[in-house]
């Protein structure tokens, strides 16, 4: 039992940064933009959240900063692809390269300025990054440890996923976004402000990615600045959008399953080479691709206009 609890908790913790990345990318794609810059936006959010947390010693400010810097990263992408119609794939890749470089530059610069070889968050914010115990709920045997014994990011992530699902599927604004993603020309004809919605949703997605990045720099690295701390998680998140079939609720499952696979090798006896375990998540993605392409359903598919810029005069 102990073993299972430990494994489950590790899986949730490993899945949380992915969850934010997946949610950000789902919202981007629902607005019709395939944004390959998730890794970059996460990196920017990682350094933004970390540096502000370092200066202010306040978790709330750090989270806001991570969200805002992630949004600013997405704004670069939005200006280039929505207004200037640049190719989405190329712009996304560029954003990734820029974001990683920017993040390392700023983080290393602040460390150099601090005069120490190690940039560590102050005690106050480190305390608030610890486990949040919920009265009564955390004390339930087993279940309390499984579900109610995490840091604040985990609860935020689940809440964000549910809110995103409500936003996209239960509100008029969400309906408009999905219309833009499926067929921007038709949405435009129906009087939906396409450009405005694209900007807003791209930036909302970027903000979510930014929080995921802050998880990497503040939780995974325990509040010590580590260069390139996102280290590929953003790319996995982009792939997991397919696994989640563009559904924010399923993003929770996707993040949990992949978090589980990524830590599995540390919890099972090493009878097979651990490289096999490193491969499993990606094999799973291929399996999901096969299954979804066989059971094609319109609801669980990539939005139609995803990857194609909308140029009004070309209607």
């Amino acid at each position: 039992m102990d073993f299972f609890v430990n494994f489950f908790v590790a899986a949730v913790l490993a899945g949380t940064p992915l969850l934010f990345g997946i949610l950000g990318e789902i919202i981007n794609e629902k607005a019709g933009h395939l944004n390959l810059g998730v890794e970059g936006m996460m990196s920017i959010g990682a350094v933004g959240g970390f540096v502000v947390g370092y200066w202010t010693d306040n978790l709330v400010f750090a989270l806001i900063a991570a969200f805002v810097t992630g949004m600013l990263g997405a704004l670069i992408y939005a200006v280039l692809t929505v207004t200037f119609m640049a190719d989405q794939n190329v712009t996304g890749l560029t954003l990734t390269i820029f974001g990683i470089g920017f993040s390392n530059f700023v983080g290393d610069f602040v460390r150099e300025k601090s005069g120490s070889t190690s940039l560590k968050l102050p005690e106050g914010i480190l305390d608030s990054l610890g486990k949040v115990e919920i009265p009564f709920l955390t004390d339930i045997p087993v279940l309390g440890k499984l579900l109610f014994n995490y840091n604040i990011f985990v609860y935020l992530g689940v809440a964000a996923a549910i809110l995103c699902a409500i936003y996209l599927h239960r509100t008029k604004a969400g309906l408009n976004v999905r219309a833009v993603g499926e067929n921007p020309a038709a949405a435009d004809a129906a009087g939906i402000p396409v450009t405005k919605l694209k900007y807003l949703n791209l930036m909302l997605g970027g903000g979510l990615c930014g929080i995921g990045g802050a998880y990497c720099s503040m939780i995974i690295c325990n509040g010590v600045w580590v260069t390139s701390c996102v280290n590929g998680l953003g790319w996995i998140a982009v792939a997991l959008v397919i696994f989640a079939t563009w559904n924010p609720n399923r993003a929770i499952l996707a993040a949990l399953v992949f978090g589980g696979f990524s830590v599995l090798k540390y919890y099972v006896p090493q009878v097979i080479p651990s490289s096999i375990f490193d491969m499993i998540p990606f094999l799973m993605t291929i399996v999901v691709l096969v299954v979804t392409s066989i059971r094609f359903s319109k609801e669980n598919a990539q939005p139609k206009s995803c990857g194609v810029n909308y140029f009004r005069e070309e209607r």
Binding site: N6, A10, L13, A14, N104, D108, R111, E112, S116, T117, S118, L119, K120, L126, G130, C216, I220, C221, N222, G223, V224, V226, T227, S228, C229, N231, L233, S262, V263, Y266, Y267, P269, Q270, P273, S274, S275, D278, M279, F282, L283, I286, L289, V290, S293, I294, F296
Partner: protein
């Protein structure tokens, strides 16, 4: 329908290429393995011996005319880790010998898996007039070998590999296992649960990592025969996420001291936030986790770089391989974290240090038991250097790999 079939076919094609990719990788690994095997015989022939009876092929170079090239796999600005440690050595050499900044040509972020970029970086160094190039990462080796032949006037000094030639290409590395043995003593004294964790970058196929883990475990056994060392392998030299996850799993299993052979301080900070202890690597990780890190295993590359560049200036450089140890000061552990180490640790460490530096103790001495019931080595002998660098693929008896 057509679309569906196409989709399935495309996916299958992806699986196919993935498998093919894997196969190829395996091939590369096998190749490496066989290379290592042949290298052992090569190396045992020339290990530590002067190849040219100490005669240099190079004329002295005036200090002002000297230019030194350095190829880094990462960015020295990282503030810790592998490239930083090497660059600190370069900085020390520069200070020691009084060279100008412009005399050091650094090429940073050169991926060692990319021979084209490696070659280009080295050619740039040569064009700028470098007399000696230090290549700090393992996979630069073959490029060094090829360019050493093309440019017989330039000295190529390659770190961590095993190839060299008779004239202008040598190899340098250090006996880091001696320092790991000391750190094992520190860990063995400290543990209360008698479970010690070790985050290893590579598995038993990698002799450097495995030998290091063994030396650490031998140190643990020296002071605490009941303790066991739990090893978890990340399969990556640098991955913040993996290293955190591995340390987390070790702590969940009850380990209360976390040693590491990987680049980030994450295992140390993870230990700190869980309220246990650790032993760092590459830089003094007490800065990162002051409440957890007992000591860190560190390189002092400046010892070698200063000596090598001085020889170039004097015209006495030879392609003799360098494999320095604690007696040279090339490897060591950082001063103990007095607030948290177990009482009496300092004395034990000094005793062991004296044994290594003065009495010629080599850690891998005599008959060693492995964790699968076999034995390695012979009574009254020690493992030769070729075996230590390329042939340790077993775990010491108190190591548990799960």
């Amino acid at each position: 329908m057509k679309k569906k079939i196409l989709g399935v076919l495309l996916s299958l094609a992806m699986v196919g290429t993935l498998m093919a990719g894997c196969g190829q990788q395996q091939g590369v690994e096998d190749q490496n393995a066989s290379k290592t095997d042949s290298a052992q015989t090569e190396e045992s022939a020339d290990a530590g011996e002067d190849k040219e009876d100490g005669k240099s092929n190079f004329a002295p170079v005036a200090k002002e005319d000297l230019k030194v090239g350095v190829i880094h796999i990462g960015d020295p600005a990282d503030g810790s880790g592998y490239s930083y440690a090497h660059d600190q050595g370069i900085v020390e050499m520069q200070k020691e010998l009084g060279l100008e900044d412009s005399q050091i040509i650094r090429k940073n972020n050169i991926p060692d898996a990319d021979p084209t970029m490696t070659e280009q970086a080295m050619r740039e160094c040569i064009e700028e007039g470098c007399q000696i190039i230090f290549a700090t990462s393992f996979n630069y080796m073959d490029t060094c070998e090829a360019l050493a032949e093309e440019y017989p006037d330039v000295i190529f000094s390659h770190g961590t590999g095993y190839k060299s030639n008779d004239t202008n290409f040598n190899n340098y590395f250090g006996r880091i296992y001696q320092a790991r043995y000391l750190s094992g003593i520190v860990a063995g004294m400290k543990t209360e649960t008698n479970k010690i964790g070790y985050v290893a970058a590579m598995g038993s196929e990698n002799s450097e990592v495995t030998g290091g883990a063994d030396a650490f475990a031998i140190g643990v056994a020296e002071v605490n025969p009941d303790a066991q060392v739990y090893v978890k392998v990340t399969n990556s030299w640098l991955s913040p996420t993996e290293e955190t996850n591995a340390a987390k799993a070790l702590i969940a299993e009850g380990c209360d001291v976390i040693g590491q052979h990987c680049d980030t301080p994450n295992p140390q900070t993870e230990a700190e936030s869980a309220g246990v202890w650790g032993v760092g690597y590459n830089s003094d990780m007490m800065n990162d986790a002051p409440k957890a890190t007992l000591t860190s295993v560190v390189w002092n590359w400046g010892v070698y770089y200063t000596q090598a560049v001085q020889k170039v200036i004097d015209g006495t450089w030879t392609s003799e391989n360098y494999f320095g140890g604690m007696d040279d000061g090339l490897v060591d552990i950082t001063p103990l974290n007095e607030d948290i180490v177990a009482p009496g640790t300092q004395e034990k460490v000094e005793e062991a240090r004296k044994k290594i530096v003065e009495d010629g103790f080599n850690v891998f001495d005599g008959v060693l038991e492995t964790n699968d019931g076999k034995t390695v080595g012979e009574e009254g002998k020690t493992l030769d250097d070729a075996t230590i660098t390329g042939g340790i693929n077993w775990y010491y008896k108190n190591i548990v790999v799960k």
